[in-house]
């Protein structure tokens, strides 16, 4: 049974980042791509977005204290 995880009210918003956005992010934190938090390719959200290994997802999470909080995860094997 396949469930559309994006339909759940508990699911945050996912988006594959563009190359320019990614470069900006990496320079903002002065890091290399491997320093980003990871997400597995077999994660339901990654499958639905059809993201590939090496893509970076922008995840918009709602936060009790900060309103909205953006998280960035690198798709890995």
């Amino acid at each position: 049974m396949d469930i559309d995880v994006f339909n759940s009210r508990l699911s945050p918003q996912y988006r594959i980042m563009l190359k320019e956005e990614l470069d900006q992010l990496l320079s903002k934190y002065n890091i290399v791509i491997k320093d980003l938090p990871k997400i597995k390719v077999n994660d339901p959200a990654v499958k639905l977005l059809d993201a590939k290994e090496g893509d970076v997802l922008e995840i918009k999470r709602s936060s009790k204290t900060a309103g909205q909080y953006n998280y960035y995860r690198l798709v890995v094997k």
Binding site: I31, S63, T65, A66
Partner: protein, 840 residues
């Protein structure tokens, strides 16, 4: 620090562990042990004895007969003892057992056919490369299990019998006992090429080496004898065991030579086996423990390695620290909360290395001169790094030559910053910087106000101090982990240090509306907090006095604990321009983990002001309670008769509704009955709350001000104790169909199943007492089981988060990797915020 490649002479590529062969033991041996005697009549070590000088030196001044070094440089040298008959090594018996059972009893080949072996060999090699040692071991275990059940040797067609192992070390083949010699012969027959299937490398571990035929005798340096005061020598446990071995071996050899009967030889052989077993491992199952004359267990070789006090956990991984002290802690309200009372005895032992400069040379010279007493100094370090002890002989010399550049290790003195710690150190507040206050006691003193972050109490708790040894550490302790800077918790932004118990009661008493002091009393009160003044007015209210410790420009308004309960408008705390206009200062404003005023002060005025305020408020409260007095009376626990009639009525009602329920539902009514029991409790709570005397009642006063206790504590004390439970249901099944013989069979009513209608004040009847104890015991057992579980959970969690840190850009990182892009999603330091807000 990077390791310079020029200094790398060789690199370790791999380690190979193996078993020492008898040949190897002989080769590395410096002495063949031939005598069980240690010393001759003149007290000199016997040649070939267990203290032979060729095995190393343990006395200073002597040189080793083997290497020519003195005690410092001689590493010690092994000897060897040729055994008259071989014996088993207990630690290898399981492996020997496997080997014997998986190999042919006649040709010694592994009991698996050739074509099978080829495939297995490849499997094992590839498993080791691709999947690691664990997989390899798994394969070998499966192989052994298979080989054990083979009945005919695939090579020589010999029939195989299963050899049984009777623990600890008796092998039985059919109905015959296998002697170590038989086993040795069988092991010797195993081919080198078959050993890989057992995970053995024939170059380093031939199976027959698992038997002891030549015993390696450890050097005396690892089993030194000590000379007692009376000149007698006391030998190490290992030496004692070795003399037993040598003596038994000699007797065995003599008996064999003289052709003694088989039984006697076997007996001695067994004894030799026992001694060597307990030499290696004393305390293995089914082997009687070898003891000293004093009935103390002899330390075996295994004991030195194994367990908590063993070489690994106790020596290699152990961490020890100098300049630290540990003692029982005692409460001392006359210390500031950021101080720690240090006994003189400790202050004279732990030191701080102070650089000599032109400015402090006179003071340091004085401490050196005073080395015998306090404040003195213990050592002086010269610029060329030589440490010299200050003694009667050296004082004058040292004082003469002392000049800038020297370092004096002086006693710690009042005002020094040290670290204070209580284990378990679960969070960062378990180690904080405190200021030293040297006192003539023998325990470490701590102000009760700072016990919360350490989770300390005074029922015998011990705490540690660490004296910092350089300026950088000192600065960090002062500016980062000083207890003053950690008043507010990083967890919830509330003060962890503040008033509790009597301090709260005192402050509430001081700031209640009616409290007034004569001029003299007011002056005395203020003198205790360092305010010495000539007061103008004749009378002062408590609130006026309390205002004197508030910052002059403070404006603050907050509800007090008292207001939350009494709803009396006068109890709302209002501070205008540093004057307490109305309100009772109690737990809600200055209490630990609740004090809104403390939190406000910390955020607005900083740590110094808050720290001073806490100390002064506590002291004021304490002195108020000293002066006005506060105690509890049994009358404080009185509620009128009418209240008890109401309680009885509530119980009666509950009982009848339970009876009603049971009539209709029999035993499925449990959940409803429990809620009835709970409802009675709530009713009783309301009755107590309504009827208890709120004026002139110190128990009630402590509850309303938040000093200690709550209505919940009053329910079982003066109301009723209530339902007793075991495993989340009403207590049941003591006797058949009833709880105890005091009840009727089949009675499932409230009382008959552990509802206690008495209270602590009146006392419980024996049945109630028994049921209450049963329920309490469950609580205690749960606690005992849960504590270590949650402790270990906490430990794993903090270990996992150990290296996380907040970087300058507020991201949380593990090394360079990002864990959170903004600390806590909002980037706020909770302890610096006002209830999660930084808009101050």
């Amino acid at each position: 620090m990077k390791l310079d490649s020029n200094f790398v002479f060789s690199k370790i590529d791999a380690l190979e562990f193996g078993i020492m062969s008898p040949k190897m033991i002989q080769k590395m041996s410096a002495v063949a042990i031939t005598s069980s005697e240690l010393y001759d009549i003149d007290g000199f070590p016997v040649d070939g004895g267990l203290s032979d000088l060729r095995m190393g030196v343990i006395d200073p001044g002597l040189t080793c007969k083997t290497c020519g070094n003195t005690i410092r440089d001689c590493p010690g040298h092994f000897g060897h003892l040729e055994l008259a008959r071989p014996v088993f090594n207990v630690k290898t018996v399981p492996y020997v057992y496997n080997l014997i059972n998986s190999t042919c009893n006649s040709c010694g080949r592994i009991l698996i056919s050739d074509e099978h072996l080829k495939k297995l060999s490849e499997d094992i090699i590839s498993a080791e490369i691709n999947e690691g040692q664990k997989k390899k071991i798994k394969l070998i275990k499966a192989l052994i299990k298979h080989a054990k059940n083979v009945t005919v040797c695939p090579f020589c067609r010999a029939k195989q019998r299963k050899v049984k192992l009777e623990k600890p070390y008796t092998f039985i083949d059919g109905d015959q006992k296998l002697t170590p010699i038989d086993v040795l012969n069988r092991l010797e027959k195993i081919k080198d090429s078959d050993l890989q299937f057992f995970g053995l490398d024939p170059d380093y571990s031939r199976p027959e080496w698992m038997m002891v035929s030549i015993l390696a005798v450890p050097p005396i340096t690892i089993r030194p004898s000590i000379t007692l005061e009376n000149g007698q020598r006391s030998e190490d446990d290992l030496t004692h065991k070795l003399t037993d071995i040598v003596r038994t071996n000699q007797r065995l050899a003599e008996n064999i030579r003289s052709g003694a009967p088989e039984i006697i030889i076997d007996e001695l052989w067994d004894l030799l086996q026992y001694h060597i077993t307990t030499f290696i491992s004393n305390g293995s199952a089914q082997v009687p423990v070898a003891r000293q004359k004093s009935n103390k267990k002899l330390k075996s070789l295994e004991d030195r390695i194994k367990g908590k006090e063993g070489r690994f956990r106790g020596s290699a991984l152990a961490k020890r620290v100098n300049y630290s002290a540990r003692s029982v802690i005692s409460p001392d309200s006359f210390l500031r909360f950021d101080e720690v009372g240090v006994p003189i005895k400790i202050a004279k032992e732990v030191t701080y290395p102070e650089y000599v400069t032109d400015l402090n040379i006179d003071r340091l010279k004085a401490t050196i001169k005073n080395f015998n007493s306090y404040p003195g100094a213990n050592y002086v370090i010269t610029p060329d790094n030589i440490k010299r002890k200050i003694t009667e002989m050296t004082v004058d010399n040292i004082i003469d030559e002392l000049k800038p550049g020297y370092i004096v290790e002086r006693h710690i003195k009042d005002g020094d910053i040290i670290l204070f710690n209580r284990q378990p150190s679960l969070h960062r507040l378990s180690i904080m910087g405190h200021r030293v206050k040297v006192l003539p006691y023998k325990t470490l003193g701590i102000n009760p106000a700072s016990t919360l972050p350490y989770n300390a109490d005074f029922d015998g708790d011990e705490m540690n101090i660490h004296v910092l040894q350089n300026e950088e550490a000192l600065a960090e302790a002062d500016m980062i982990i000083n207890i003053k800077n950690n008043i507010v918790s990083p967890r919830h932004g509330l003060p962890l240090i503040g008033a509790a118990q009597d301090y709260v009661s005192g402050c509430a008493l001081l700031t209640s509306k009616e409290t007034e002091f004569e001029k003299e009393n007011a002056e005395f009160l203020l003198s205790n907090i360092g305010i010495v003044t000539d007061l103008k007015k004749k009378k002062y209210t408590g609130r006026e006095l309390f205002s004197m410790i508030l910052p002059e420009d403070l404006n603050f308004e907050s509800q007090s604990s008292t207001y939350k309960i009494t709803k009396d408008d006068d109890s709302i705390v209002r501070i205008k321009n540093g004057k307490l206009i109305s309100g009772v200062i109690d737990a809600a404003t200055i209490g630990r983990e609740s004090g809104s005023l403390l939190q406000f002060l910390f955020v607005r005025y900083g740590s110094e002001v808050t720290a001073k305020f806490i100390d002064q408020a506590n002291k004021l409260g304490l002195m108020t309670i000293f002066n006005l007095g506060m105690s509890v009376n049994i009358r404080d626990f009185d509620i009128p008769k009418a209240a008890y009639t109401e309680i009885e009525k509530a119980v009666k009602e509950g009982e009848s509704s339970v009876a009603e329920l049971l009539k209709d539902y029999d035993d499925i009514a449990e959940a409803k009955i429990l809620s009835i029991a709970n409802r009675i409790r709530i009713k009783v709570r309301n009755i107590i709350d309504a009827y208890i005397d709120k004026k002139n009642n110190n128990v009630e006063a402590m509850i309303t001000t938040g000093a200690k206790g709550s209505i919940t504590n009053l329910i079982p004390t003066i109301g009723l104790v209530g339902q007793q439970m075991l495993r989340d249901v009403r207590i049941s099944n003591g006797f058949s169909d009833r709880l105890t013989s005091h009840f009727k069979k089949g009675d499932n009513g409230l009382i008959a199943r552990g509802f206690i209608v008495s209270n602590y004040r009146k006392g419980l009847n024996p049945v109630e007492y028994f049921l209450h104890a049963a329920s309490s015991r469950e609580g205690l057992m749960d606690n005992v089981i849960r504590t270590p579980i949650s402790g270990y959970m906490q430990r794993r969690l903090s270990s996992a988060l150990n290296d996380l840190k907040v970087a300058d850009d507020l991201s949380v990182r593990l090394g360079s990797a990002i864990v959170q892009f903004k600390y806590g999603e909002d980037g706020l330091d909770v302890s610096a915020s006002d209830k999660g807000d930084l808009k101050l």
